[in-house]
Amino acid sequence: MGRKMVLNVNEIDYSLEIEDNEILLDTIREKIGLKGTKYGCGTGECGACTVLIDGAPVNSCIYLAIRAEGKKIITVEGLKNGETLHPLQQSFIDNAAVQCGYCAPGMLMSAKALLDVNPNPTEKEIREGIDGNICRCSGYVKIVKAIDEAAKKMANTDEGSENNR
């Protein structure tokens, strides 16, 4: 018997029944049906399940779903603006920053969290910004390049700032 509550995911309110011991990752994937957020290690060490909670990047596999009540949750599905991909997503495609792709949603969310507080990061700052995301294909070079290019594009275009929500 769960508790009835409303969770706000990607600016949509979902009325749900949530168990006390329920993990947010499961709520997002199984109850809400958004499968972009991945299950990796289940212990908060690989970053595949990263979502933003009130703007902060969080491993949703070690977060109790009941704690998300009243907060704004953004998943990888919430990055695009209508049919337009977020500049980070486009840059990941343009730079082929995706090999198997399993870490990409988490990488994108960490990158988004970084650019939200630091729109012009150095390469070192980008690497620090994704220090909680593991890429088993070890494709870090292209991921870092993709984030760097997206940041530059977003700084230079109106399109970027519109999408940077």
């Binding site: 006390d20 212990t43 908060g44 902060a56 990047p57 969080v58 960490s110 970084l114």
Partner: protein, 295 residues
Amino acid sequence: MNILLPKFECIKPNNEKELFDLMYKYTGRKVGILAGGTDLLPTINAGKLTIDYMIDISSLGLNEIIEKDGAVHIGSMVNFRQLTLNKLIQDKLPALLKAAKTVGAVQTRSLATIGGNICSAVPSCDSAPALIALGAKLLLNSSNGHRIINIEDFFKGPRKNALNSGEILYEIIIPLPNNYSQADFIKYGRRKALTLAKVNGASMLELDNEKKVIACRIALGAVAPTPIRAVKAEDFLIGKEINSEIIDEASKIALSEISPISDIRSSADYRLQMSKVIVKRTLSNVYDLLVKEII
């Protein structure tokens, strides 16, 4: 894939009275205090801990950082992301800032709290050496009232702390450093992010007008059952003028005060060598900063 945590009831007190009523009600039961959950939930998930009740202390207003009466007061529920983005911490407590940045990874820091880090009382606790070097005190609260203790007296052994039954860590109180004092922190791990320290440590020096040491604190972590102060090395430095020979001597004395072990992360011998390096580097960094300021 579902993560199946064993069943428990989660209760969120909204004020101090509700908290202590709950703590009293569940005395002797299997209770977990939920701060950031980055340690607690994986521990439960791994089957290493079973609880019937979880008390979520996030609605008690313990998430503020304020400056008051010459000290910085950090609520125990302040997370490391908050710490690293805070202007007061950035400007006044760079050693703590440095330590906070080494905790876990970006995502861990969004959740993990300074209070949880301290209460878990692991020997490798990253905030501990910086807080010990800065002379931090802890405000512990219970239904019987509060008490304030020095942080180094809080650690009683691996995962053992000085909290009595029904007691909660409320606040970390750090005296503001004056113009003649500085501190520095260094952590060595297997990698930069998401790693526990092989060794971590911090030093604080306060100098007089003649650049002689009038106060000193040296702390090391992951090289004893608890984070510890190297008091003999501190005593040796008092009244002395700092130079590389003196720093070298102090680092050697500090080694006599630690008891590192070999484990999966490091060998005892490597820990011993790195402890010396950390004491030397933090002391000389602090001295360089101070001499620049005094001149």
